[in-house]
Amino acid sequence: MLDKKKIYFILGVIIAVALIAEYCFAHPHYHMIWNTVPGADIVLGFAGAWLLILLAKKIMAGLLQRKESYYDEGGERHDG
């Protein structure tokens, strides 16, 4: 498996190529800021991913996750 630096490099190249392609060739059909500004989707993807991690891992997990025997009244939950 690749180490993190190589993965960052590969993803960086992909993002750069996509950004250049968008800047040179794209003709947006719609007119909101995330449709028209090249690279807006990079910000959206990055911020969105952190937002979801924060929401799911920090808030929802704390509120909603329980031990596996929660519904079993003492017994172990069925474990395939």
Binding site: A18, M32, I42, G45, G48, A56, M60, Q65
Partner: protein
């Protein structure tokens, strides 16, 4: 119903019944495969409207693939339930009257319950019971709504958008149960993981998509559903991010993807309706493949939790490859089918200028990418791991591999040639998926989100915990409420019984020994023991002067009455 043609759904139901009664295994296999193939042909030439034909085609197609996946199953009841379930789903789609829809709706609920309990575990029995209760509730709500429609003189299924009467809300609630619209969604994550491996492939394909079909047909353009749909899309992806059970995770992804469809049909218009229908079509293909791969992993390893799995790509390359393709399709990678239908849905949101929905659905795509494409692929198949999971490769038989490859291949073909799906949609809207701005948009989104995943990868491993859902309300508080009510009833019953017992015992005592009445009234000391019931001799004892007085009074009264009458 269709008047002039053999009903395609009935063909599948007949297939199910034949599967049940056929003892010879080879013949049963032939019937089980041939049934959906003939049904597919019958749908193709049925001449029904485009929406019906589209859902009929994809339902029959996935029934063929799932039949190949399931062909080795020995349990005849399970196979019959699966075929009847597919048949009843197709029949709901082909139904034109409210009554026809209702009958097959209930048959769907019962046959799918049979699939859940087919794994014959204690957990499956309990989850199946909860599943059946929820779906019977949905069926009854639908029945109530349909009864009102019939009373109004409407027998044919019609679009109810904008009517807002009692029938509208009841039918909407009934259909919402099947479409897993929160808070009526918990049955998916509760029941699907307990079903058999092949059974889950059927269940993941039919119930919710029949719900979506009915929403398109009856409630297209309902603004309220837009909020629910967008919420489902984001919330399902978040739940999948923290879920540990492989098939529960896909359950949440069904909710998330159905959220896209519900949002799309709620936007209405040609593009919205086509987006919902196309996404349902594509979703059945990639979700079927994902569930087949998950079934293969669970069968081969005997483990269902992501935290117990790892490094399976080398041991199960075909499963890993098919999973990778389908997981990229569900996120919406360009050149795969999820991208094709998401382009329509996002296009509808953008062109109708519902910008908040466009942004939140984009967020849900990022969530899908992280929770399936990255999380499951990394922790189950491709990532570095110290775990050495035992794999029984015999569990992934050739037919299962063929079914998975067909599923993954269908995701690629419909992704590369989007016109296949677009031409089947009701209005034939072209989503123009392969424009530079579309493709670069998704590449940028996914690459940026992947950077975040890699940064946070160590913490993305799910914990060995369960996640509470709305089923908590009927598994905990409702359980306590019912226990409390039955305890109260039991206490009332016992208290009433004791009081009645005491009353009859006392009455019995006074009836056996009339002395006690005089004793109580006149305060006379007893000559007999007080507790006459326990003393058998009390009646034999001399009555004494008390009886003499009683007799004298009685005689005096009689004499007085006699004299009074004859004066």
């Amino acid at each position: 119903m269709m008047d002039n043609f053999l009903h395609p759904g009935l063909l599948m139901i007949i297939t199910g019944l034949l599967t049940l009664i056929t003892g010879k295994e080879i013949l049963r296999r032939v019937i089980f495969i041939a049934g959906p193939v003939i049904t597919l042909c019958a749908v193709a030439i049925s001449g029904a409207d485009k929406l019906t034909t589209m859902f009929g085609i994809i339902f029959s197609l996935i029934a063929v693939v799932a039949a190949i996946y399931n062909i080795n199953v020995k349990d005849r009841l399970e196979l019959a339930a699966e075929a009847i379930y597919a048949g009843s789903s197709i029949s709901v789609v082909f139904a034109t009257s409210w009554i026809g829809m209702l009958v097959f709706w209930e048959l769907m609920a019962v046959s799918s319950w049979l699939i859940v309990v087919s794994s014959r575990t204690e957990e499956a029995g309990k989850a199946g019971f909860r599943y059946l209760v929820v779906h019977m509730l949905g069926g009854n709500l639908l029945l109530a709504g349909i009864v009102i429609k019939l009373a109004q003189g409407s027998t044919a299924i019609e679009c109810l958008t904008g009517t807002c009467d009692a029938a509208y809300w009841l039918i909407l609630a009934g259909v919402a149960v099947n479409a897993a619209i929160p808070p009526l969604n918990a049955w998916i994550a509760d029941a699907y993981p307990e079903s058999t491996m092949g059974g889950t492939v059927y269940m993941g394909s039919f119930t919710t998509k029949v719900g979506v079909f009915c929403l398109i047909k009856i409630f297209a353009g309902t603004e309220l559903l837009l909020y629910f749909g967008v919420f489902m899309a984001v919330w399902g992806a978040c739940m999948a991010l923290i879920e540990n059970d492989l098939r529960r995770l896909f359950g949440y992804h069904i909710i998330s993807q159905v959220g896209y469809m519900v949002a799309s049909l709620a936007m209405g218009g040609e593009m919205g309706i086509d987006g919902a229908a196309a996404h349902a079509f594509n979703h059945i293909l990639y979700k079927g493949t994902l569930l087949m791969c998950a079934g293969a992993v669970i069968s081969a390893t005997g483990k269902r939790k992501i935290s117990q799995l790892g490094g399976l790509a080398k041991k199960m390359p075909v499963t890993a490859g098919c999973f990778l393709v389908a997981s990229m399709a569900i996120a919406g990678f360009p050149l795969l089918n999820g991208f094709v239908s998401k382009s329509l849905i996002m296009g509808a949101a953008a062109s109708y200028e519902i910008h908040w929905a466009e942004l939140l659905l984009t967020l849900a795509s990022i969530g899908t990418l992280m929770s399936v494409t990255l999380k499951v692929n990394y922790f189950v198949f491709w990532g570095k791991t110290d775990k050495d999971v035992d794999v029984n490769l015999d569990a992934v038989t050739l037919n299962r591999k063929i079914a998975m490859i067909i599923g993954a291949g269908a995701c690629v073909v419909t992704g590369l040639f989007p016109d296949i799906v677009y031409s089947l949609t009701p209005y034939g809207t072209d989503g123009h998926p392969f424009t530079v701005d579309h493709v670069t948009q998704y590449i940028q989104l996914f690459a940026a989100a992947a950077v975040v995943f890699v940064m946070y990868a160590e913490h993305m491993q799910p914990k060995e915990k369960i996640t509470l859902d709305t089923d908590w309300f009927y598994r905990k508080p409702l359980k306590y409420a019912i226990n409390g009510i039955s305890l109260l009833c039991d206490n009332i019953r016992c208290a009433t019984g004791n009081a009645m017992g005491r009353f009859f015992a006392n009455a019995n005592m006074y009836l056996h020994n009339p002395h006690l009445i005089a004793e109580r009234i006149f305060g006379l000391k007893p000559k007999a023991p007080r507790n006459c019931i326990e003393d058998d001799d009390v009646l034999q004892k001399p009555a004494g002067w008390l009886v003499a007085v009683n007799f004298a009074v009685f005689t005096a009264v009689l004499l007085f009455v006699f004299i009074y009458i004859h004066r």
